[in-house]
């Protein structure tokens, strides 16, 4: 089945890192909960964001959301690999703005048909979680390793982040109670053939997990590949995932390393902390 996905996946090069679950397949309670949790978080985040000068935040949010979208959907250099800038975005934005950005990104993707509208909530939690975690772990790692080792800090933070969010994904799959499928790309790894494909030639792959439908007949014998159980899915992800995480980590490390060299403040203090501009303090209530 994964071979099939690959064969069909001429377009899969441009896929994005989030749950590809068609609308109307996940149990309603699950996606509805996801929506509510995401909306609640976005509301809290925007309330927090509003406490300080939002004029600086609105363009930054818009630009970073656009940055994530553009990097997801275009190859910068012809290596048939697109990056997923969640950790970079998290480092730039910090946790609260990260969540808002994740929400905007998911809404735009859903409108383009790239993800289901119903799973916007879950996807926001997933991507937002990656940003928040990436941000926190990066800060910790920088403190532990020192500023000169930004790249190492990024690698460590990215790998850990992806490990945790993958676990969360396994959790979602388990929660969905077998009635669902979740496909998630982790990089350049084909768990079916257990082959590490050439990331510069082929494309990006999906790791899929399937189980029989609740209340439906068991998986038919003629299915080309047997359904994976949550346990098997987890086993595959945890043994092979790290290679994909590493690749992702290296790219994000290169990017943050570059930015840290050119604009250290941006990486170490976050985009909002750096300011070469005068910030007129008392303005706004002028009417």
């Amino acid at each position: 089945m994964l071979v099939a996905s690959h064969a069909l996946g001429g377009k899969a090069e441009r896929t994005v890192s989030h749950i590809h679950i068609p609308d109307g397949v996940l149990p309603v309670w699950l996606w509805a909960t996801g929506w509510m949790a995401a909306l609640a978080l976005v509301w809290i985040a925007s309330a927090v964001a509003k406490r300080t000068d939002i004029r600086r935040k609105v363009p930054l949010l818009g630009v970073v959301a656009a940055l994530v979208l553009v990097s997801m959907s275009s190859e910068i250099v012809p290596i048939a690999y697109h990056v997923n800038l969640t950790v970079v975005a998290g480092v730039l934005l910090g946790p609260w703005l990260g969540i808002i950005t994740a929400f905007i990104v998911e809404v735009v993707l859903a409108l383009l048909g790239h993800g289901g509208v119903t799973v916007i909530g879950l996807n926001t939690l997933m991507i937002g979680g990656e940003m928040v975690l990436g941000w926190a772990l990066f800060r910790l790692a920088v403190r532990a390793l020192g500023r000169p080792r930004v790249r190492w800090a990024t690698v460590a933070a990215t790998i850990l982040t992806l490990a945790v969010t993958t676990t969360a994904l396994v959790g979602v799959v388990a929660l969905a109670g077998g009635g669902s499928a979740a496909t998630r790309e982790t990089g350049a790894l084909d768990p079916a053939s257990l082959q590490f494909a050439d990331p510069f030639g082929g494309g990006v792959f999906s790791i899929n997990t399937m189980r029989g439908e609740v209340g439906a007949a068991p998986v038919a014998g003629e299915a080309p590949a047997p359904g994976l159980s949550v346990a098997r899915f987890a086993a595959v992800v945890y043994t092979l995932g790290p290679i994909g995480w590493l690749l992702e980590a290296l790219i994000q490390a290169a990017i943050l390393g570059y930015v840290a060299r050119v604009r250290p403040g941006l990486v170490f203090a976050g985009a909002l902390a750096e300011s070469g501009r005068s910030l007129p303090s008392h303005e706004g209530g002028q009417h």
């Binding site: 363009p59 070469g276 501009r277 005068s278 007129p280 008392h282 303005e283 706004g284 002028q286 009417h287």
Partner: protein, 298 residues
Amino acid sequence: MTTPRSYPATGHDHAHTHGCETVVRVSCVKHAYEDGTQVDLCGLEFTADKSSRVAILGPNGSGKTTLLFHVLGLLAAQEGEVEVFGVDPARDWAAIRRRIGVVLQNVDEQLISPTVFDDVAFSPRQYGVPEAEAGRLAREALDLLGIAELAGRVPHNLSGGEKRKVALAGALVMDPDLLVLDEPFEGLDPSSRADLIELLHRLTDERGLTTVMSTHDIDTVPEFADFAYVLQPGGRIALKGTPAEVFAAADAMKASNIRPPVLAELFAALRAADPSAPAPALTVTEAADAIERWKRGA
């Protein structure tokens, strides 16, 4: 399409007819950028009187944009003083912002709203002008620039010249008293340049608009400006005067790495060869007249 090279740009006159209320004043402002680059806008004091058109000239990196950013309150004076309409723009921008229209260097990045109409209506809406009135203002500004038909378009599908006009409409929508332009001619073809100059002349005449602009396009300065300031590398304001006065100061111009306009050079060459040659004229028609007269006179 009409070439306003023959437009009477006779310096002082204009400013005098409108009185000499000073709109912008920058006195010896110093700015150190984070990376240590120091820009000292000292030397002469920079002023712009009401209804005058002031051009800022200077080599790359001399601090023209830095000066304009101080006028706009985007940078706060670390030393020295900035006064625009009598207040410090970095501190009290809100008090004067309605009176100032701005078009910075990269117009693409200044169109922030999703459609042309929304972009032009941006400022009135932010200032709390009622929607109907804001719409009227936006349509008026679009008409002023002759781009009413662009209203519904999205900015990224426009050509460079169209984008510039939309940005100008957005800057003029609140009928400002002061217009600040950073290199407005960049990337425009000569006939669009001429159109833009004509428009600015019209606005000055009709509305008493004060314009401050930075430019590298020396040849348009005599056509456009009443006054010119010349910065030297490092920011020193070395020279001020009408375009004719400024371009006559060959030495100071050289210190600022500025080559005078072609006609100024031509007259300098003529004078070098023959001291009886006429005084420099900076527009084509004036120059042709002067040469004709000189020839006949001889």
